[in-house]
Symmetry: C2
Subunit: 260 residues, 2 copies
């Protein structure tokens, strides 16, 4: 599987969603494997992605937000999908959501090989292949060099406690953002838009996998909020971790010092 | 001046910006009247709006973020423009920014007559005429009836203090958002996407005027964060106020109680 295969899926999804706007159908379809409500847009995106891999006869295990885990064979690579990252935005009518697809070859996050994110509102595409760099719409990208924090973004599934926890870091923020799509936060940080991105409440493997690879390949520093490596976390449906992702080492140290 | 005149300006701006992407030219052009940095996209948008009014021979005083105040004649109506609301997003490459245009007939905010906002990323349009309701892409809109808060959004020019101040309100939030465009926060709240929107650090007249009229016409409750009416604030370049805007009276009371 190569990036062009993922781009083809993403671009077709972007066209279908632009045309038929399934996000405006807010009839809940029940709960997905992750426990979150599944909406028609989530199901449509997941179906399209899995269909494409099945049609291509891909020998791959699947970890996906709605359907959960599908193990075909132990030694196969893993496909890690968030069909719609930012579902809440999508079904609320807020135009900021994406699709996130990652492929890992081994048993831990260190083995992430491909990452692809498409902004389903304007078609912005981000991708990375391990050791080959990160790209935005075909152009090589790098994080900000600037060591003064400009925009600090966060995500929080439990707002009050999470915001309380990151409050010290906001002392050095010029602006704060909370967009509601972890994949897009990581993508835009990778191309220099954000200085620091924090997720103080555990983020799920399908939310961050593609974004974390793109971030690393654009030279971001990625750890959990205590500064520990996340490289040895297992590729598994239930894997969760807090995240601290910074545009450079200096910013990362500043953020860690303030959190402690 | 009618809504169709404002929509014509907005749609032409949306096309020009989609095509030429002036947001990616991040060479600062100096500081505008508001003190913020002016970027090519801010100047382009402001020029287009003011040109259109001049060409139409409009007898109107102008209050605009970059050029400041231009008083033609005391008793003329006022045009209140934020050429690009969410400039920081735009020049950072984050696709969430808008144009906000309002017209007031008298001396205070109570006299706001027309409000128009266009999302410059996807072309979503919101408008309102006093006492005639609010609209999204031509359809009448109303805020959420639900009295349980789902998404609470905020804006903060000084992140640390502002976030500290709104922390108590986040106790009742299911999700939190900070998108970086006051005009769009007000617009999406008006069509039911957000429950509560808070700006604890003073927001400027050009950021909120169009959005406040749209919010009121879609039955949102609008006060400052202490619960005071903002209706008697002067239509003037330097007018600023904190904001608390809720989808309904019950949510507004809950938020006020928590802030106090």
């Amino acid at each position: 599987m190569e990036i062009e295969f993922l781009r083809d899926i993403g671009q077709r999804l972007f066209k279908e969603i632009s045309l038929f706007k399934p996000q405006f159908n807010t009839t809940a379809l029940g709960r997905g494997a992750s426990g979150d409500t599944t909406f028609p847009i989530d199901k449509l995106a997941e179906d399209r992605i899995i269909e494409a891999f099945e049609k291509a006869g891909a020998k791959i295990n699947i970890i996906s937000e709605e359907r959960g885990s599908k193990l075909i064979q132990e030694n196969y690579p893993s496909l890690i999908i968030d069909p719609i990252d930012g579902s809440k935005n999508a079904v609320s009518g807020i135009p900021f959501f994406s699709t996130s697809i990652a492929i890992a070859e081994g048993e831990t996050l260190k083995s992430l090989k491909l990452g692809y994110i498409i902004n389903l509102v304007n078609g912005d595409e981000f991708w990375a292949k391990r050791d080959e760099g990160a790209f935005f719409n075909g152009q090589r990208i790098k994080t900000r060099d600037n060591t003064m924090p400009v925009i600090i973004a966060f995500e929080a599934s439990t707002p009050h406690n999470a915001v309380k926890q990151i409050l010290p870091v906001l002392k050095i923020a010029n602006r704060v953002r909370c967009f509601g799509s972890t994949a897009l936060d990581l993508a835009y940080l990778s191309r220099g838009a954000l200085s620091i991105f924090i997720v103080p409440t555990p983020s799920r493997i399908f939310d961050f996998s593609a974004g974390v690879l793109i971030a690393k390949e654009s030279s971001a520093i990625v750890t959990d909020i205590e500064g520990n490596s996340i490289e040895n976390l297992k590729i598994a449906f239930n894997t969760k971790t807090t995240l601290l992702v910074s545009a450079n080492e200096t910013l990362h140290k500043k953020a860690l010092d303030l959190i402690k």
